[in-house]
Amino acid sequence: MSSIEKPTDLVPRLRAGDTSAYRELMQIYERRLYAFANGILRNPDDAMDVVQDTFIRVFKSVGSFQGDAAFTSWIFRIARNLCIDRLRRKKRVQMTEFNDALKANPNALDKPALTGQASFQSPDKESLSRELGGQMLEALKVLSESHREILLLRELEGLSYGEISEILGVPSGTVMSRLFHARKKMQKTLSPYVGSNLEVGANES
């Protein structure tokens, strides 16, 4: 990793179309972007598509990148916008499918819906530790888009409230408040695990 330059140092080479700079930048960000996109989209294929599209957009528009803006914030803003686009497209498709299904079976809404909360009922204690990661990711689905993205930008990327505010286009006060509510909701959703397994995980690490 020591041979890899800082992202902003790569900008002149990226602008010159240096392929090795493209590779270096991808190596720096690919995993982080994937984790972020996967956290928002909860779909590995979609997440990978978003990562790929993000890099293409970054390389295409690096000429317009303003040096005074934080490079990481800029990249994550692009990735975030691509995630939102994808979610909106999916929602439109799902809404159409839902309406079609409802037309076909008008009693469908009488059945109890399977929610993220339902999957946390009666957890088997022995499998808690093994499943914790999966449940954690499932719990993300319970959050609203705005809570999910803010939580991921903070917890995964460790971005400051100012940087998150810049990426999302909301005031810092809103970031602060949303982040608290996102954490609170996650804790509530994961209440069968929190306090036992989370502490085990912390001791193990």
Binding site: T19, R23, A35, M48, I56, S160, Y161, M176, F180, V194
Partner: protein
């Protein structure tokens, strides 16, 4: 401070986003409130666990093929060329069609080109009609001479209305063009193909020739344009 405000402060404290006074206030609360301290620990653990879970998933992903796909796409785009165009001080070479388009976008040039086209069309139609009817052609009227910047000299005429012009004048109307403030007519005496072509400008008000248009002098007059004049 209500519980929600307290929670927001605690969350911001965890993220290191509070100023010194706020931080001291939260630390004081943490010392006296065990529940609050436990809540802070839960928030911290949540972040770590989430990070671990997402990072574990990403760790199993092979990014090599994605990288290659991006590089393939970029090799088609050649971003360096696009970027260098904005950075280089020298003007890039402009193609013929770009130059033509930029010229046509200028009203004066567009007007001159319109007159040229009208002249060409007029010559073409008179040639074809002459051939068809066996009449002598008007080869002596070179279309290229009917341009805005080299209209040949013609004697000054008394002002006429458009109506009287079309009825009484023994001229051949080569072309009528609508302009912003009326009409422009390319006129040439019918019996003299060697006579200079005259531009007539008629205003919209009552058909009287006037000099309303800032682009044209009061009409009907001979239009003598110098090269580079804005029309």
């Amino acid at each position: 401070m209500n519980p929600e405000e307290q929670g927001i402060m605690l969350s911001a404290y965890l993220d290191g986003e509070l100023d010194e006074a706020q931080r001291a206030e939260v630390e004081k609360m943490l010392e006296s409130d065990q529940e609050l301290a436990k809540e802070l620990g839960g928030m911290k653990e949540l972040g770590l666990a989430l990070n671990r879970a997402l990072d574990d998933e990403a760790a199993n992903v092979d990014f090599a093929s994605m990288r290659e796909a991006v590089l393939r796409e970029m090799s088609d785009i050649e971003p360096s060329r696009v970027v260098q165009r904005t950075e280089q001080p020298n003007e890039p070479k402009v193609g013929f069609w770009d130059m033509l388009r930029s010229l046509v976008e200028r009203p004066a040039v567009a007007f001159a080109m319109g007159i040229l086209v009208a002249g060409l069309w007029s010559n073409y139609s008179s040639v074809s009609s002459g051939t068809e009817t066996g009449q002598p052609t008007r080869d002596s009227v070179a279309p290229a001479s009917i341009t805005a910047d080299n209209v040949p000299a013609a004697p000054m005429r008394a002002p006429e209305t458009e109506q009287s012009f079309s009825k009484a004048s023994p001229s051949l109307v080569l072309e009528t063009l609508s302009v912003e403030s009326g009409k422009v007519v390319l006129d040439q005496p019918d019996d003299d193909p060697d006579a200079p072509v005259v531009l007539w400008h008629f205003s919209e008000s009552g058909g009287e020739a006037s000099g309303e248009s800032p682009k044209l002098p009061a009409a009907p007059v001979e239009e003598q344009h110098n090269e580079g004049d804005p029309l």
